[in-house]
């Protein structure tokens, strides 16, 4: 959740990073990597892929740091880069899913649940997550369309404002509101919960 002091700190750290201060990079990483990773995990549904995308996101931030405007809040910008990285990853997955194998048989990408556990893997029951509310929410999230999931995770989980979420996804505030609402309603239906006013 972005607050004014946090945004100010991020802006100050980003300014030092642009001046070539390596310690500022590590501070920025410590400040933002956990939530960017959580965002990527929510979208990709796979912790390992999200960790790769996180590294790629920060590499892109590093390469694009000359695009930064001094004094601006870098948090929505870094979310936007993460979002783009994630879209590219999803696109790559879709392409690899239709790639043909040796015998011209379609080679399916190994399926995975949103938890990151491969669908065909049957781990030790002791390692399986408890059938808790979080697991239910995970399964329900996986059923949402991509754009609804993005809107919901940004606004409800990461506490971004509607305007920020619109900026991050390249959409409009109205569309974000609508998608987040629809996602919320769908999620409640899936989870068997009654919608509260």
């Amino acid at each position: 959740m972005s607050t004014e002091p946090e945004a100010r700190e991020a802006a100050e750290v980003m300014a030092r990073y642009c001046r070539g201060d390596a310690a500022a990079f590590h501070r920025l990483y410590a400040l933002l990597a956990p939530r960017i990773l959580a965002y990527l995990t929510g979208l990709l549904g796979d912790r390992a892929a999200a960790e790769d995308a996180l590294q790629l996101t920060f590499l892109k931030v590093h390469e694009a740091r000359s695009s930064y405007v001094l004094g601006a809040n870098p948090i929505p910008w870094i979310y936007t880069i993460a979002h783009r990285t994630c879209l590219d990853e999803i696109r790559k997955r879709k392409r690899s899913r239709v790639r043909l194998g040796k015998g011209d048989e379609p080679t399916a990408e190994p399926a995975a649940h949103i938890t990151g556990v491969a669908a065909d893997v049957h781990p030790d029951p002791a390692d399986q997550p408890d059938p808790s509310a979080a697991a239910g929410a995970l399964a329900a999230l996986a059923k949402l369309p991509d754009n609804q999931r993005q809107a919901l995770i940004l606004t409800k989980v990461h506490g971004r404002s509607i305007a920020d979420a619109a900026m991050i996804t390249g959409s409009t505030p109205g569309a974000i509101k609508q998608r987040a609402h629809r996602a919320y309603v769908t999620l409640r239906q899936i989870l068997g919960r009654k919608e509260l006013a």
Binding site: A7, L37, L54, A137, L138, L141
Partner: protein
């Protein structure tokens, strides 16, 4: 949404990894890049817009300096001229700013604001052209006087808008190349609308045809076409690895068009 939603928000947070194990340390590639880094010059909010405007305005200024102005220029009502110049000028400036200048405190231009501003600018100009185009009897020209149809006159003026717009688009694409990770079509739409509006502004001074149909179809239509071109091309260019090559190709195309 409050009350019962808090529970769901917390559950969602847990589900999507908030509070999950900490992220991995930066990768070797990332650390190597950071260790070898040098200070960089950051961008200013208005730098890109200023560069695009300066580069794009050269053509229209030269065209105006060379003349000639439209045949009915002396007979046009001063109030109408001021209104037309202001409207086209505001449409140009507002669209260009929306496409290239981030809001205070932001790093990137806001795609939703960009498309909204461009749409309002185009709609406003279409209404103005439809209901407020003036014609000076005896001075304003009809396409038939040149042996042209309405279509021929529209093609001619759309060509002029294209020549002006292509420079803005090319320089704008270069300026925005790394600034639109998402929402490229919306930002490109505003860039194209701004570029087309400058073409339309030039035509206020030089186009001799003063019928509403001609102005709507070719002046505002040229702006719409430039906007569509921006919306289609910017996302591709912004994400292309050969963006520079694409931009150079378009720049050459611009030179050819301007030279004609």
């Amino acid at each position: 949404m409050s009350g019962g939603n808090d529970f769901d928000d917390r559950v969602l947070g847990e589900a999507t990894g908030v509070g999950a194990p900490p992220p991995p340390a930066p990768s070797g590639d990332l650390l190597r890049a950071v260790d070898g880094m040098k200070p960089v010059r950051t961008r200013s909010r208005f730098g890109a817009a200023a560069a695009v405007a300066l580069a794009g305005l050269v053509g229209p200024v030269i065209a105006l300096a060379r003349g000639p102005f439209r045949r009915d220029w002396p007979g046009l009502p001063v109030g109408w001229v001021i209104a037309a110049v202001m409207l086209w000028g505001v449409a140009f400036a507002a669209s260009l700013v929306a496409a290239l200048v981030p809001r205070r405190g932001d790093v990137l231009p806001a795609p939703s604001r960009a498309s909204r501003v461009a749409a309002v600018a185009m709609a406003g100009l279409a209404v103005f052209a439809l209901f407020a185009t003036v014609d000076v009897p005896g001075l304003s020209m009809q396409p038939a006087e040149r042996g042209w149809s309405l279509f021929d006159s529209c093609v001619h003026c759309i060509g002029t808008v294209a020549k002006v717009a292509v420079v803005f688009l090319v320089v704008g694409f270069v300026a925005l190349r790394r600034l639109v990770p998402v929402g490229g079509a919306r930002v490109g739409m505003a860039l194209g609308a701004g570029a087309g509006a400058m073409g339309g502004l030039l035509l206020v001074f030089i186009c001799p045809f003063a019928s509403a149909a001609h102005v709507v179809l070719s002046h505002v239509g040229g702006m719409v076409l430039a906007s569509i071109a921006g919306a289609l091309l910017l996302p591709a260019i912004a994400r292309s690895r050969t963006a520079t090559a694409t931009a150079i190709t378009l720049a050459l195309l611009a030179l050819v068009l301007v030279g004609q």
